[in-house]
């Protein structure tokens, strides 16, 4: 049983997804989906323990040996990302029942859980597999489910957002497919570890460069790296609240994992960071993303949209870490991957509570919220403070490591810009605090009350984790340090 963990990780939600359709009642489906998610979480915990104790696990599908058959290879990097994805998906799904019952019609609720599990399975598959073509297939499984999930939004603009994302996403995925084709032409293999061995021999050819360019642009589209981020704000603001929380906490993290996997494991640091101006490109685009997206966020009226822009900014920080390319910088990126999932998961769940009570998430809905929904608003404030990077929250930990990494390379200006970027976050978080605590409610007659416990508990679980891991940083710091070390060690 334990030897089959890598495939169980993916197959459990994949099989559970269509099974949802046999259960007729929405609450039954929810329980079933939650059970599937939690078992996937248990599997990923076991996997991380195994990998941490005994090194990478290689699992060959159907017993076909590695370069020919499909291999699932779990090392510290993907075990860590698997844990983040399954952990966050479980918490968000736990909150889903209350919010989905309010926001979606009866017959669509069952479809929602099916799509959720499909998307979840796709994301886990991308992370678990060691085969580049398999990455493409899982990428499309998760993307197709995502488009449909976004289209479930109540506003008709959700349809348009889903269509735009479908076009962008398909172009991105096809770019990755072209890149994989080039790699296969040059090396005759699709296995990531095998590719890493064979690529150095042909790395000077234009075909490999083209492959790298196609894959890089394709992943950046999925990652919503500035300036390829246009699909994200619409998709996040019009999707059902739970879908936004799910996507913000998992989908971009998986895209970032792909970026790391391809630039570092498959192509190798020397090829991707040294022989190409990728370092400048990643740091530059990341920083521009931080500043432009944060500045745009300050002017947003819809708070869901504001946090969507803030996500683009946070992705910028992670990409800067990849660009610096040292062990500390990668550790900062991996830490921020985890921390940002906790922050945005918590924040968007809190917003889901607000939408549940008030029906919207616009800035005027926040007036007097400090009194009307003290717990939800406190969650938003703590999440926001963590987003800024104040000490004792997780946001501080990852910013600290990122600045330390910049200092190590003596990039003082970069460290300064990272701090300045955080100040912009203060500007947009402060607007919420001001509206919630210093303004009277816009409409006194509006029915107000705390968000239901079904939403509030998962929100505070994530927000509490923001504080807990901000103080007791042992687990994430140790795992990410080992993962970053392993990544760069394995590449040399």
């Amino acid at each position: 049983m334990l030897t089959h963990l890598p495939i169980l990780q993916v197959i459990l939600p994949l099989v559970a997804a269509p099974s949802c359709l046999f259960l007729r009642r929405a609450s039954l489906v929810w329980l079933f989906a939650l059970a599937a998610c939690l078992s996937a979480l248990a599997v990923s915990v076991l996997l991380l323990q195994q990998v941490y104790a005994a090194g990478p696990i290689s699992y060959t599908l159907g017993g076909w040996q590695a370069p020919w058959g499909i291999e699932y290879r779990i090392d510290l990097l993907n075990a860590w990302v698997l844990l983040i994805v399954s952990g966050l998906s479980s918490v968000v799904l736990a909150a889903a029942h209350t919010s989905v019952a309010r926001e979606l019609e009866g017959n669509r609720q069952i479809l929602f859980y099916t799509l959720y599990l499909l998307c979840f399975a796709g994301l886990l598959g991308i992370v678990a597999t060691g085969d580049v073509f398999n990455v493409f297939v899982f990428l499309e499984i998760s993307s197709l489910a995502t488009y449909a999930l976004i289209a479930l939004g109540r506003d008709r603009r959700a349809l348009w957002a889903a269509f735009q994302y479908l076009i962008m996403g398909t172009i991105g995925a096809t770019f990755i497919l072209i890149g994989i084709g080039f790699l296969y032409m040059m090396t005759g293999t699709l296995n990531m570890a095998d590719l890493a061995v064979r690529l150095p021999a042909v790395e000077n050819s234009a075909t490999v460069l083209a492959a790298f360019a196609f894959i890089f642009v394709g992943i950046c589209l999925k990652l919503a790296l500035f300036p390829l981020h246009q699909w994200l704000p619409n998709a996040y603001s019009f999707a059902p609240s739970i879908v936004t929380a799910f996507l913000a906490a998992t989908a971009t993290k998986v895209a970032l994992y792909l970026l790391l996997r391809f630039t570092i494991t498959v192509f190798g640091v020397e090829f991707s960071l040294a022989s190409l101006p990728l370092e400048t490109l990643l740091i530059g685009l990341g920083l521009i993303g931080v500043f432009v997206a944060s500045a745009v966020a300050v002017y947003q009226v819809d708070i869901k949209r504001m946090f969507a822009y803030s996500s683009v900014a946070q992705i910028g920080y992670m990409v800067v870490g990849v660009g610096i390319g040292t062990v500390t910088a990668l550790q900062a990126t991996l830490l921020h991957l985890f921390n940002h999932a906790l922050m945005k998961g918590g924040l968007f769940l809190a917003l889901a509570g607000l939408v549940y009570r008030v029906g919207g998430s616009r800035i005027e809905d926040f007036r007097g919220l400090g009194v009307a929904m003290p717990w939800t608003m406190a969650a938003i404030v703590v999440g926001g403070v963590s987003l800024i990077g104040v000490p004792l929250t997780v946001g501080f930990v990852s910013k600290w490591y990122l600045i330390a990494a910049a200092m190590e390379r003596e990039l003082w200006w970069l460290a300064l810009l990272v701090v300045l970027g955080s100040l912009l976050a203060v500007a947009y978080i402060w607007r919420l605090v001001e509206a919630a605590y210093f303004h009277a409610p816009a409409d006194a007659g509006q029915p107000r009350g705390e968000a239901p416990l079904g939403l509030l508990l998962p929100t505070w679980l994530l927000i509490g984790a923001n504080l807990y891991f901000g103080i007791d940083t042992c687990l994430p710091v140790e795992v990410t340090a080992a993962a970053a070390q392993f990544l760069l060690g394995g590449a040399q």
Binding site: F136, R156, F163
Partner: protein, 123 residues
């Protein structure tokens, strides 16, 4: 000579550019989807071309044959075609719902309507 012998790749590039151009330049959503399909198809042809070995026969073990084409890219593309069909089906389904919600399948109309709503509700 080299250019002529690699004509299949030129076809791939031409189709790829036509498809991508259609996706960007066409305002009609159905035409955008057609463009996306052409774009994807060009990649299918690219893979299949890469798998062909000059003078190689179909990869079925038979007497008197020692040279076979590489079947792996073909198998990969079977999967990619399925993915492409799923994408097209989903895109068409979305267009039907967009047509019902907005009364149009023209990008310009939809964007004007969506924008109007944003402006109107922000006051």
């Amino acid at each position: 000579m080299l250019l002529a012998s690699l004509y299949n790749y030129w076809v791939v590039i031409a189709l790829m550019m036509i498809g991508l151009y259609m996706v960007i330049a066409q305002g009609n959503l159905i035409k955008k989807i057609i463009g996306l399909n052409i774009f994807q198809t060009s990649v299918f042809i690219f893979y299949i071309s890469a798998g062909k070995v000059d003078g190689g026969s179909a990869p079925i073990l038979s007497e008197g044959e020692s040279l076979y084409s590489n079947p792996l890219p073909h198998v990969l593309i079977l999967t990619a075609i399925v993915v492409g069909i799923a994408t097209t089906a989903l895109a068409l389904a979305l267009v039907i719902r967009i047509q019902r919600a907005y009364g149009s399948v023209e990008e310009g109309d939809i964007q004007a309507l969506a924008h109007e709503r944003t402006e109107g509700s922000e006051q």
